[in-house]
Subunit: 553 residues, 2 copies
């Protein structure tokens, strides 16, 4: 070895030589329109209407025109542009144009209660709202409470709808007609906000998550992964999950980036409509919450869904009966995935691991999913101690990663975070191989005599009974056990299941001490604005003695 | 609309609420070892030796031990650790440990000429080198010229090899034996260097590319994409491409991150050895340069490669005969991909686009590939003007993106860059759908009477002739046309093709005016240190009248 004349001691890292190239939605936008210009966005206007088709090249040009029109209306980088829309081509145009011009796409949940809707528009300070004409009455309800909105752009469908109560509106197509493709998009810091979505907690005001270009780009790449949703140029994506829910689980951007067709069902989300749309357009991938998939299974059990490679399902626990029903009725696999608005949302995906035979894989598919590359997950007990991944220990899921939120928009909510990890509010065990098994929402956990009972397990088991359409289980006060589960059951049409019969059914399938003593039969389970069971409302109804409760001895 | 008391004008972007979570190799390392702890790294020590198997959990523990050992030797964040190794488990351990501890993995090309080897070790200032004992003589050749190396760690295989000429070496296993798993890895800035790889230009000194954690993480995600290499937990990856070439095309990190098995062939890269290894271990994905694949096709045409879903091939143009041969002999699809050390390397992948029938897809597979999401490509003429994607215009490929280099390590080389884009030195046309068709290296382009002739096309066509094993075509001075192609042909064993016969063969397949007048038959095409045709040497041999040239009338 030669004398070490040049030896240095490096106390710090050295720089790479790589480009400092920002991760932006505009990159995916330009890539898709150019490289996959012949892929299509297809919008369904109902069974009696022709499909509306446009190529990615055409949609890209129209997004340029939209950006130019918004700029003319005064939209600057950083301004919030709300959308109050179904899943359709114009919503996709807004998905592309608004972030690429440096503005922030605020997807408004059309199912928010009026006071929540006005709150989120004002809190986000939306400057412009783009609205589907059919949804105008919902916004008109609260329009006089909106303090920042300067322009409302109305989208008309095949049949013109007169819009009232939204002030001086402008027509979407009229705006675009005077603009040319070829907008000059600005350079953008990847950490700046590109979209906002408010979660609707069951208490307090909704909280806003502001996605960055970086987080949404990375999330789109994660969704393209062969390990997760497998987006690629050969797919046709039926986007059932609303585009106002966490960027429709990232499907629009992932599909656009790889040139997978996008099929948009607008408001036609009933099972029979969807079945017809699937038969007509032959999607290969779709995604929806369990209630929508269940509606299709119940009302169109003979449909031909054979074009589908899989349907990703999440938003709440996916019942085994649904997974089995899709396989036996349709020959279609349901893929459970887990995430939330705060996680962009993809955090876990339930592909069966290697070594699991197809005939045996339902036991895996009913699990919540397996943590995907890019995010880190841990479970913690009430004191914040990290618990082992042993398939036994139950704790709150905490999560971190480049597409996980660190706070809420102008609402830091420190109680939702723990040492830089997001507290998800979901209680779960972790298997050694990274599969999550959520047993409950932290606030819905039932503690009976010091032991936990999973309301989710009881609900899913009950919903496997042929006479049960929906079942919600909540904890109610109990003199002896502090808390006991109460089952709230919606019976299938033409059936009258008894508490005794359902108790026996449960006793064969869960620990005997989990079986509820209290039973109530209701017409429907109350839902939150995002369609989840509102257990808060059920607990309140019980406390107020509004329910007709049968108590078994 | 209410009075706009709160309207503000935002002159700049707003911050997102997302976590500022760094993109690091350590994240992928920890994810793979934990979530996919039962995946395997399998090392081949030769047909008469048992396979060496270790789970990701075990390899992860050993990587911890390696990090601890390196730290004890004085390796600090930012220090360079060289590897002079075949593809094997210990090389994978270094891939994981060195970047995760904040040091920089410098993969030394074992085929560099001695003066290049000493140059790159000194230029990178490697502090430690980990070396396979079988490669010790190559490093010993230049060891007295190395100015910064403080420690050499020797890896012994099943049969001990005495190592000489490397000073006081330490044994890899001896170092690890005294360490425990559970190293505490530091927090790392995603933009810091995690690995270095030197390119060997045909002129001047090698130039170093320093990959960042961010770039390698993003590249691994890109390789997991269903649109590109499709890494997922069900694959078994035979890594033929050396781990000292651009991180083995990113396959080790992508495979590790999703839990795909890694099969490492060490020095056993001859076609017959590889065929046996494939039959034994049943990989589903592999990657290699054309010469290696061709060697396998020629020497083991009856092998059973049916476990392979595809073989990715790049590094130089992939001849049609090779793609056709793999399909007809083995039923295996060859996937052409394009990139270079400077591009991490994945930039284009040649999956046939939608609508191309399997029977017709060879015409697509012979193309260079289609630009992938994440990178941007353009072609420019000699004056730097951007040319259209019309399938006709030919220009130098320029490329940019988050895993493309912006400079060289301590060697900025401004002539290699143009307005922030890397000039690749490859001349190509672009099809409207983003498919690249490389016609030549810029320096190898033949300009005949003002028109371009593609040496690559001529070579690939010639190599389709049954009597031609290798063919290189270079431009040589010509009185009338300024420059004309000269064909340098290696005849297949037992054959004696004539220039007239090969000219006729070419004339049926390329433009008549492309057909070379000058022919020479050589024993082998001279190669660069990375195994590519060294056309500089051929041109020099011609200029020095060292070749026996036949000139057709």
């Amino acid at each position: 070895m030669a004398p070490r004349a040049i030896v240095r001691h490096h106390a710090c890292m050295i720089e790479s030589t790589m480009q400092d190239f920002p991760l932006t939605i505009n990159h995916l936008f330009q890539h898709g329109r150019r490289v996959h210009g012949d892929a299509e966005v297809i919008t369904f206007h109902g069974p009696d209407q022709p499909l509306q088709r446009a190529t990615f090249a055409e949609v890209g040009d129209r997004a340029d025109q939209l950006a130019a029109a918004l700029a003319k209306l005064g939209v600057q980088p950083g301004d919030r542009v709300g959308t109050f829309m179904w899943n359709n081509q114009r919503h996709m145009e807004a998905y592309l144009a608004v972030p690429s011009m440096g503005a922030v796409l605020h997807t408004l949940n059309i199912r928010l209660f009026p006071e929540q809707l006005s709150y989120v528009v004002n809190h986000a300070e939306d400057k412009v709202i783009i609205i589907d004409a059919s949804l105008a009455p919902l916004l008109a309800n609260v329009f006089d409470q909106l303090t920042t909105v300067e322009h409302v752009i109305v989208c008309q469908g095949p049949e013109h709808i007169d819009v009232e109560g939204l002030g001086d509106t402008v027509d979407y197509e009229t705006l675009l007609a005077v603009e040319e493709p070829g907008f000059t998009y600005p350079e953008i810091d990847e950490r700046s906000a590109m979209a906002m979505c408010y979660t609707s907690g069951t208490t307090g005001n909704p909280k806003g998550v502001a996605y960055s270009h970086r987080s949404s780009y990375l999330h789109a790449m994660a969704a393209m992964s062969a390990q997760t949703l497998q987006f690629n140029q050969h797919e046709r994506t039926l986007v059932i999950v609303p585009m106002f829910h966490a960027n429709a689980w990232g499907m629009p951007y992932a599909a656009w980036g790889v040139g997978a067709d996008l099929i948009m069902p607008q408001q036609h989300l009933q099972g029979v409509s969807l079945a017809g749309l699937i038969e007509q357009t032959k999607p290969t991938i779709s995604g929806a919450v369990p209630t929508v998939l269940n509606d299709l299974l119940q009302n169109a059990p003979e449909a031909d869904l054979s074009s589908l490679r899989y349907v990703v399902c999440g938003g709440s626990a996916v019942p085994r009966a649904l997974i089995e029903g899709y396989r036996s009725n349709f020959g279609v696999d349901v893929l459970q995935a887990w995430g939330m608005t705060e996680t962009s949302p993809l955090a876990a995906v339930g592909w069966p691991q290697r070594g699991v035979a197809y005939e045996d894989d339902i036991d895996v598919r009913v699990k919540t999913g397996r943590v995907i590359p890019g995010v880190e997950i841990r479970i913690c007990d009430d004191d914040g101690n990290v618990l082992p991944w042993d398939g036994e220990a139950q704790g709150e899921i905490e999560i971190r990663g480049p597409w996980i939120t660190a706070s809420y928009y102008n609402d830091p909510a420190p109680e939702k975070f723990h040492d830089g990890w997001l507290r998800t509010g979901d209680v779960a065990s972790m298997e050694p191989n990274g599969f999550i098994q959520i047993s409950d929402r932290a606030k819905d956990v039932i503690k009976s005599g010091g032991e936990w009972i999973s309301s989710v397990d009881l609900e899913n088991t009950l919903m496997g009974h042929p006479s049960v359409v929906e079942a919600a289980v909540v904890g109610v006060p109990d003199d002896r056990w502090d808390e006991r589960p109460m089952a709230c059951v919606v019976a299938a049409e033409g059936t009258s299941p008894t508490p005794e019969e359902l108790s026996e059914y449960l006793a064969d399938r869960v620990a005997k001490w989990w079986v509820p003593e209290r039973w109530t039969f209701i017409d429907e389970v109350p839902k939150t604005s995002v369609g989840k069971f509102s257990k808060k409302d059920l607990r309140a109804a019980y406390a107020n003695e509004e329910l007709d409760v049968i108590e078994l001895g």
